[in-house]
Every structure is written in structure tokens, then in C-alpha cells.
Subunit: 425 residues, 2 copies
């Protein structure tokens, strides 16, 4: 049964995923001569770069989520459906979703990536990850629940399990999370938990490579390490976690750490898409695309963002899986649709990258210049604020940041759960 | 095994529940000569009068929740434990909790009330209620999930089930919720869901008595009815819901309404407390207390707020179960503890009551004067803002209200769920 969409004689573009790429594309196609159907499993666009601040009780989920229907209010040509894609049928030119089938003239796969546990089921079962707002709230709740448990635990070793946190992965997510946790330990714990000895709290950052932030300059990596060590984080380079049963973390260099919370930020991978031939996939299950962003071997199917891989001499494994390539590709593709003809081919313009470690502490690589400290931190704030969707979200995030900055006190340390109504599941 | 609490030679007051009463009492006992242990099942104080705004996507949960540890930061004599009381043992002078036992010298039961389904298990299973932030989020998610479902439902009757809402109970909660829903239908639906015919959306308010707001003046009830009808709410007086199976609502006057969402705001009742003799309980399982707020027949046990019933000629069934009696009793009891002697007996000072129906539409009874319309509405905003705990919460709520007022557009229409990490339950 096809999904109920108003009839029209326009060509239909189906966009799967409302992350940076899919969301931008649909926005750019507002009032175009296409009927656009945007599907996502959530009814909001989420701003991934700030998930870690939700997990650290610094921001409310709603500040970094933007309701899709608000973004496309009163739109006559863009239709939203909260649905999950199950399968693509490129012969019939339709996709299968949990709501029914959806026919397309053009299909854009902006399906993003998921956490890569490298096949480690034990890790997938017990470790936390930060790939959605829901997961960020899971981690926030777990941190504060465990602090409450630590308070009533007399045994030292057992208590360690509740308060120590192990972060795996030395990329931006791992680094930002470790820094934020260390600041929480420093500024919040002594005030909120005077009965706990904050010296007992250990934060570990484990990175398999020999440096932090491998996607950034060598100076940025070195400085991030220095900032983290100043904040009291135990950074372990050149080792990896070999096992975690929910209680005990084992590392390759023979250490065991008692901790209930492992945050896995060690990599991402794409979910394979049912119905798409094996030959279309590159490394990490990314879809091979050409310079016009068309998926190799398929007709009228495009891919953008984390899910797509456009290789070049400069990027032999495709562009980095961050917001900028997705946004730039979306703009390119929108233009291609609107003009109805192919452009000169997509080229990625690297605007630089940055990571923040704590207050006044960040690193940024811009145009081969590497900045650190307060200036990088101020720039980080500005760039992220600017990129957030919605005036109200910008306002509330900036107010929250100012509040937290001046009071040294985020005030969202709440354990709030919203389970579905049991009778109605 | 006793719960781990720092040792002291002070007398210990155990306060059960951090609602308006328990929270205020503990605040007033800061730096007193008692060791105070405050327990609650949540790590935050919640501001019940605004739950309905969370359910209606007008406010964030965090704006009306205040972390307990923040309220008692660095306190040396007040200790917080996230725990649930299971049983009282007045002979051994201890309570049993899910964390272990807790001895007391003085016990204050500020345990509040829960939704009264009057023994209707079917209703309890399927209906939504608004007695916690978690329940408010449940309702918020259900409203927006059902709107999404309605969009892809072709059958008229089936669609009605997703979009119609039945509210049971004509007290302040029912009236405020019905008004807020009607405003959402009027201002939000046409913008966010242009594909839905808003005329199909019906909001029912069902009240068994012959008037709305029975706790307020006759004028307030009449005006509330007029405001709701102006907003398009179908108010049905003098009837009741006889059955609801999650799909179909049956009323006593023979109507059936197809609706998946029934919000039950028809009454509250106290949970019986294990270990307390039957003779201590009054109507609605409230604990009988004397003018010194001591529970009848027990030594060193006090009760305040919704859980307590102090009868007088003016209040033959005890004070109304709202915030003010709880707050006033907490202040009285704190003074009694601090001076170490009994006062002249508690008397309740009625500060009036109010309910808001929509923008510029409210009713208020103050000192035998009854106000309606804009002036009552402005007063309602002011009083609620003033009563909220925390400068930041006040700031964020006022900003949200201003935003919503001027844009006619709350922007929190998010379906966010945070289930616990599955492997770690």
C-alpha cells in the first residue's frame, strides 16, 4: 500500500534522512518544481556536534533539535513523513518503508552513519554511544544515576565502578566528552556531592593510535592532549579496549579498569541498504558516488553526506564524515535538480575543523593555520551557534552557554525518563 | 543494612518526598541543628502546576524541574538520597527503602498523592495522566506520534481516533489542558499539518458535575466554560466516562467517541503507607493530622501537603490538595522544629486560586473577588513565575512564554524518548 501523499503532476524526489545533508537539500528545494518527500525516523533534525553537551547536562535536547514540521511550515511541495526505510527497489523506482511503499522519480540517500562496534557484540550491548539525542539522554541519566549509587556504596572498588568513566576513541567526540566530564568533576562534583571524594573519580580516554584528533593537525592533537592532562584526564595512547562485560574494562596493555560506563566513540560505519547491489558500496559501506553525486551503477539514485563516498586524489577514501561535506553536497545537488542539468562536478571546500576541550580551551585548524586556546574556543562557540537551525535554538543555546560560563554550573542534572504508556505500546 | 549517611550527634529528621511541602521544609531546615535526610524517587523537585505545558510542548521539562542537589549545594546538614519508601516501622523508628533502612528521630511524610482511577483498571492501563514530568512527556510524545499517524491514515473514522482527545475532569488540570490543546489546534495545526483538516480535530472535556472548576467561584466556572467553548472545546457536563479500551470511549449518556488518547484528570488519592495503622487514615487515604501536624496515634511522625488531612469547620475534609497548604505547613513545621516547641496550631491562609484557559484568558478567585480575562491571565503568569524554583528556570520559562506569545508557536514539538541502555537494565 503506498503512503498517503497528496497527488501532483510534478516529478517526485524522495529524500531519505533529515540530517545535515537531507535537511539542507529539502530546504533548498522548497518552492521548486519538484514534489519532495522527506522521510526520517524522527520528527526533528538533530545537531550532532552538540550531542555531548546534552549528555553532560549542559544543554537541553530541545535546544539542539529542530522540529521538521516547523522548518517546512505551510510548504506546498515538501511533505514530511516519520518513517524508516526498509528497502530500495530501483527497478520499480520505489522504496519500502514501515508505513508502506513510496514511489520516486529521483531518490536521494542521506542516511548517515551509525556507531561502529567492529562486530564486538559485548561492547554494543554494554557501551554507550552518542549518535542520537536519545542516546545522549541515556548517558546523561546513567551518569547521574551512578553518582547516586556511588553515594550509598561503602565498598571502595564497587564505588569506583559507579564513578569512573572510560571513553574509547580520540577523535573530536571522545576529546570533547572527556574534557566536559573533567570539568564536571572539577566544578560540579564538589558542590553537588560533597559526600563523595572527587579524587576517587577517574576519567580515561583510550585511543588506539599514537595521537589524539588524527583528522586534525599535529599541533591540534598535541595541544588537545595537553589540555586534557591539565584537566586531569588519564589519556592512554597506543592501546585499545579488548573486552567489557558491563563491569570491567580490559585493555590491550593488560590493565583492567572497574567501570560501568564505557562510551564508545571509536568509529562509525554505514548500514547496508537492502536492495542496493554490493558493487555500489565502498569502504565502511559508504555508497560510491560520482562527481554528480549519483550512486554508481544506479539510475536516478543519489547519495550525500556520511553515507556517500566520492573519492579523489586528495580524498582517496572519500570526504570526512562530518557536517560540511553533507551540507555542500546538498547545496550542489539542489542546484542540479533546480537547473535540470549536470554541473561541473562537486568539489569539496574544506572550511577547517575544530574541537573544544573545556572553557577557554579549544583547538582549530583553519586554512593551514592552527589556533589553540581562547581564540579557538571563541571561534568554536561562534561557528556552532551559527550552524544551529532556528533563531530560538540559537538564543537558548547562547543563554545556556553564558549561564554555564559565568556560574560554573549547568543546571540540567536531571534523571528524566519518558517511557511509552505501557497499555498502549 | 542502613543507608550510608554521615554520622552526627544531631537529631535526625527524615523527610519523605520533595514536592512543594518536603522541599520547602528541607530548605527551611538548612543550617539548623538537625540532620535532615530528604528522600525522593527523583533527583529533582518538580513544579506540578506547569506539567500540562510540558505535555503541550510549550515548556521543556528542565524548565520546571529543579535538581535537588543544586538546591542543597555544599549543605552540611541536609543529605539527599534518591530512594523510594517501602514501609514505616514506628516502633523501631525507622523507614524501609529500596536502598536500605533509615533511622529517624522525627519522620515527616510529604508523600503527595497519585492519580485516582477509582479502581478502573482498564482506564489505568490506557489513559494518560499528568502527575509527573515523565507522564507529561508520555502525553507529548503520544500527541505528536498520533498526528503523524493521522496523516497517513486514509479512513476517516480511523483518523478520528488519532486526532481526537478526550479529557476527563473539569478541575484546573482538565480545563488548562483543554484550553492549551484547543490553542494548539487553532495556531499550530494549520501551519504544521496543512495536509490535515483541522475541522476534523475534536477536543472533549467531560465533567461529571454540573459545572467546571468546582473548587472555585461560580463565576470562574461559568467563565471558564465560556472561554473553552469560544476556543471550540466540546464541554460535556453532568456525564462520565464509563469505559475506555484504548480505542473507544463510552460515556454514561450513551455517546461513543473514537479516540486513542484519554487524559484522566478526574481526581487524586494517596497511596496507603505500609506500616501505618488503618486508624491514621482519613478520606482518600490522607493521614489524619492534628494542628501541630502530627499524625494521629503516632509519635514523632508528621505529615504535610496532599498526604495530610487537617479538618476544621471550614475544611471538613481537610485543606485542598494544592501547593499552598503544603508550603504553609512546611514553614509552620520548620519553625516548630527550630524553636523546639509547639506553636499555637497551624491555620491555613487561603491566597486564592486560579486557572488559565488560553492566551489572555484566565480566571482567578482572590479574597472573594473573582477576576477573569487578561488581568487574571497576567496575574496567573506572574504568580507561577514567582513560585518556580531557581533564577535560571524563571528566566527560561519567561523567555519561552514570551516567545510563544509573540510567535504563536511553541517549538518543542519533538518526539524524544530516552529508554535505558538495554544491556544495562
Amino acid at each position: 500500500m503506498p503512503i498517503n501523499i497528496p497527488e501532483t503532476d510534478k516529478e517526485r524526489i524522495v529524500v531519505v534522512g533529515a540530517g545535515f545533508g537531507g535537511f539542507m537539500l529539502a530546504r533548498k528545494l522548497l518552492k521548486s518544481d519538484y514534489q519532495v518527500v522527506l522521510i526520517d525516523r524522527n520528527n526533528y533534525h538533530q545537531f550532532q556536534p552538540l550531542f555531548y553537551q546534552v549528555a553532560m547536562a549542559g544543554l537541553e535536547p530541545s535546544s539542539i533539535a529542530f522540529p521538521l514540521r516547523k522548518a517546512f511550515q505551510r510548504s506546498k511541495n515538501v511533505h514530511l513523513r516519520v518513517a524508516e526505510m526498509e528497502k530500495v527497489d530501483t527497478t520499480a523506482k520505489q522504496i519500502q518503508t514501515d508505513l508502506g511503499v513510496l514511489n520516486y522519480d529521483h531518490l536521494v540517500l542521506a542516511t548517515g552513519a551509525v556507531t561502529n562496534f567492529f562486530g564486538n557484540n559485548e561492547m554494543e550491548k554494554h557501551a554507550y554511544s552518542l549518535k542520537s539525542i536519545g542516546e545522549s539522554l541515556q548517558l546523561r541519566n546513567a551518569i547521574f544515576e551512578d553518582l547516586e549509587r556511588a553515594l550509598v556504596t561503602r565498598d571502595y572498588d564497587e564505588r569506583q565502578g559507579f564513578i569512573d568513566v572510560v571513553i574509547v576513541g580520540g577523535g573530536p567526540t571522545g576529546v570533547e566528552l572527556a574534557g566536559a566530564l573533567a570539568e564536571m568533576k572539577k566544578y560540579i562534583l564538589p558542590k553537588d556531592y560533597p559526600e563523595l571524594d572527587q579524587k576517587e573519580v577517574d576519567i580515561y580516554l583510550i585511543q588506539s593510535g599514537d595521537r589524539l584528533l588524527p583528522g586534525m593537525s599535529e599541533k591540534a592533537g598535541r595541544k588537545a592532549l595537553q589540555f586534557l592532562e591539565e584537566l586531569g584526564v588519564t589519556v592512554k595512547l597506543g592501546t585499545r579496549v579488548t573486552a567489557f562485560n558491563g563491569e570491567l574494562v580490559e585493555t590491550k596493555d593488560g590493565q583492567s579498569i572497574r567501570a560501568h560506563k564505557v562510551v564508545w566513540a571509536a568509529g562509525i560505519v554505514c548500514d547496508k541498504i537492502q536492495g542496493v547491489s554490493e558493487t555500489c558500496f565502498a569502504k565502511g559501506n559508504r555508497l560510491c558516488i560520482n562527481e554528480h553525486l549519483e550512486v554508481a551503477h544506479l539510475n536516478d539514485v543519489y547519495a550525500i553526506g556520511d553515507a556517500a563516498s566520492l573519492t579523489s586524489d586528495e580524498y582517496p577514501y572519500g570526504h570526512p564524515q562530518v557536517a560540511q561535506p553533507a551540507i555542500q553536497q546538498a547545496k550542489y545537488l539542489a542546484k542540479q535538480f533546480k537547473t535540470g542539468k549536470k554541473g561541473n562536478g562537486f568539489t569539496y571546500r574544506d572550511l577547517g575543523s575544530m574541537a573544544t576541550i573545556g572553557r577557554n580551551k579549544a583547538v582549530a585548524d583553519l586554512n593551514k593555520r592552527s589556533l589553540t586556546g581562547f581564540i579557538a574556543w571563541a571561534m568554536w562557540l561562534f561557528v556552532h551557534l551559527f550552524a544551529l537551525v532556528g533563531v530560538k535554538n540559537k538564543l537558548f543555546v547562547v543563554l545556556n552557554w553564558m549561564w554555564n560560563y559565568f556560574t560554573y554550573d549547568q543546571s540540567l542534572r536531571l534523571i528524566i525518563k519518558s517511557e511509552p504508556k505501557k497499555g498502549n505500546v
